[in-house]
């Protein structure tokens, strides 16, 4: 059983792919990095900056939005795009991941997960069907199936049980999604922890169900990069090559580059904004910690060759001062600088794949990251 395909594969270079995903709110160029607008807002950034930085699509967290301000309220206000002012494609997660990590008094059954809000203790029930309904109310362009993500390390039996439950929830999600308006998409999620045969079984079951796109979940939860990449290598060959592939919650620039090299098309992560709030800039030459005293008197910008104005204009000394003084502007500038770096990386990746020189791009990026920051003055 398959679904309408909104993905156009435009080119390959090795396993790396370049493509276009067409959503009701516009086209997403892949490989794509989706900044995370948790509760209907990017932390420390205006939506216009997210767009200017080159992002085609952002991610909204269903758990946060269903608790506050509420899915029915957002629907009455015209949906997430109208509500927030982000007038582009939006992917929403299922809510499951935050239920596991944030909510109180969780209780999981075959039918649904019940929990209490971490904000005010209100009781909620999240079933695969309710998750799809909430994401429809939000006006999501790409909805995710509800799944169960197991924290690693875990017992084989626990990983297998959660993986099988996720497959059954995927089928129920797909049935619930049948009423969705044309153009909207539903992605399945492969689980299976760090166990190769469970990853493969999960991928096969998910493909049998048939989705608009396929996600790999339950990774970047603390395991070594090598394990993550190995699991991608188990799953990707099983996925249909004409559908988009999304590695959830990943990651560092190096994680993204390596996953692209293994055939992944979409990513999301809070790292660029979260690390920005903690004084760290991602750069061509690796992460730079602006709170370090070496920057206090340094008039040089983070990267004078960057295409992003704030990256090449603000002095390190100023950014250092803002971080040390706890000024909001420091978090604002480093968040936009990091989102712009991630988008610049994705642009470089797409161009390299298109031009058939992804291997050289990858080697160059790794060498630059390994070189490290410019020497102190």
């Amino acid at each position: 059983m398959t679904s309408v395909n909104y993905f156009e594969l435009q080119g390959r270079d090795g396993e790396a792919r370049v493509g276009r995903l067409t959503t009701p709110h516009g086209v997403v160029r892949t490989p794509a990095f989706m900044p995370v607008g948790t509760a209907g807002a990017m932390k420390g950034m205006h939506w216009r900056e997210v767009r200017d930085a080159g992002a085609d699509i952002v991610l909204g967290n269903t758990y946060h939005l269903m608790l506050r301000p509420g899915a029915e309220r957002i629907a009455a206000l015209g949906g997430l795009q109208r509500f927030t002012g982000w007038n582009g494609p939006m992917l929403t997660d299922s809510g499951g991941f935050q239920v596991m990590s944030l909510a109180q008094l969780r209780k999981l059954s075959e039918r649904a997960v019940t929990f209490r809000s971490h904000i005010d203790g209100t009781s909620y029930e999240l079933s695969p069907e309710r998750s799809i309904e909430v994401q429809r109310l939000l006006g999501s362009d790409i909805a995710m199936q509800l799944d169960e993500c197991v924290r690693l390390p875990a017992e084989h039996s626990d990983i297998e049980r959660a993986m099988q439950l996720s497959l059954r929830w995927g089928e129920r999600s797909k049935r619930a999604f049948e009423k969705a308006a044309p153009g909207h998409m539903l992605f399945g999620i492969a689980q299976g922890g760090d166990v190769p045969e469970l990853r493969r079984a999960s991928a096969r079951g998910m493909v049998d169900t048939g989705f608009h796109g396929y996600a790999i979940g339950g990774l970047a939860v603390g395991e070594p990069q090598a394990v993550m990449l190995a699991m991608i290598e188990e799953v990707v060959p099983i996925l249909p090559s004409d559908r988009p592939r999304y590695l959830m919650g990943v990651g560092t620039p190096a994680d993204i580059l390596e996953a692209v090299a293994r055939g992944v098309d979409m990513f999301d992560c809070v790292m660029p904004t979260r690390n920005g709030r903690h004084g760290v800039a991602f750069t061509r030459f690796g992460p730079v910690n602006l709170s370090n005293a070496r920057h206090a008197d340094d008039p040089r910008p983070i990267d004078e060759e960057s295409s992003w104005p704030s990256t090449r204009s603000y002095a390190r000394a100023y950014l250092h001062h803002l971080v040390k003084a706890g000024e909001t502007l420091g978090a604002m500038l480093l968040s936009e600088i990091n989102i712009a770096y991630y988008q610049d990386l994705m642009r470089g990746i797409r161009e390299a794949i298109t031009q058939g020189c992804f291997a050289q791009f990858r080697e160059r990026a790794r060498a630059d990251w390994a070189r490290g920051d410019i020497a102190p003055r």
Copy 2:
């Protein structure tokens, strides 16, 4: 003894005045409202937004900057404008007010005030001469004399002693300023608490010393508006009409309007950004508290006729959500909305004075504020 005059009085309407103040970093249209960029940053705003909102000049706090990152460091980095990226006129206060309100272990003598930093306990001495030196190192376009501001209510003798000390410190500040580069300005500050004869004596002494401009300090510290306006009426007639007049730390839109009606040209206040961080928007129809539940489902903007995009585009429901969720974007949007409202008010004031209809403008503004916000839906 007088100084070079950089102020051009362009028109009057009653006591209200419109003019231009030319600084090394550009022209300031008066009446002017100066947003406060405390420690080299506007809280929650990019400098370009401050400029776009219509601000010609901003204020920097000498106390904060001399403690962190340090005046000598900022000088080595090319001055405040180069350091921060605000490429316009900047006024700096003397540091005295924050020494009184924030620093620890203050000790005041005829010569100077010694204190310990509220950040790390380091000992500092701030004399009139050192304050001028620090402001020169910062690259300030308009420096303020060091003064002593007394908290009201206070004893007559305390108010008089502080006022006399401020006059002597004004003379020393002026001597220290003689080495300043041409184009830079020094303003004196009239003190005298809520005592008419002390206010008049302070103003006369200050005018005898002779400054590029004249400030009224020690108001908006908790006294009723009527007392503040009465003190302005004592001081203004003594000031030379060809010099700019600056009411420090003021205030609400109504305070500003009434002070303009009494001949004041310049203002600064943290209120638009501070109240913005607490969920309050200043509007043509008075303050609106976005954290109020009445806005939760309201798709209407704060003011659909505003010239500022965020004021007329973002739904109240979205702003309410951001405030309740503690999202940084809420503080960012309400700060820019408030700074834009203040600048819009100043633009309206300047146009009305120029056109000779300030009285009508004032009546209309008061009537609008009294009308209050639109009715809930």
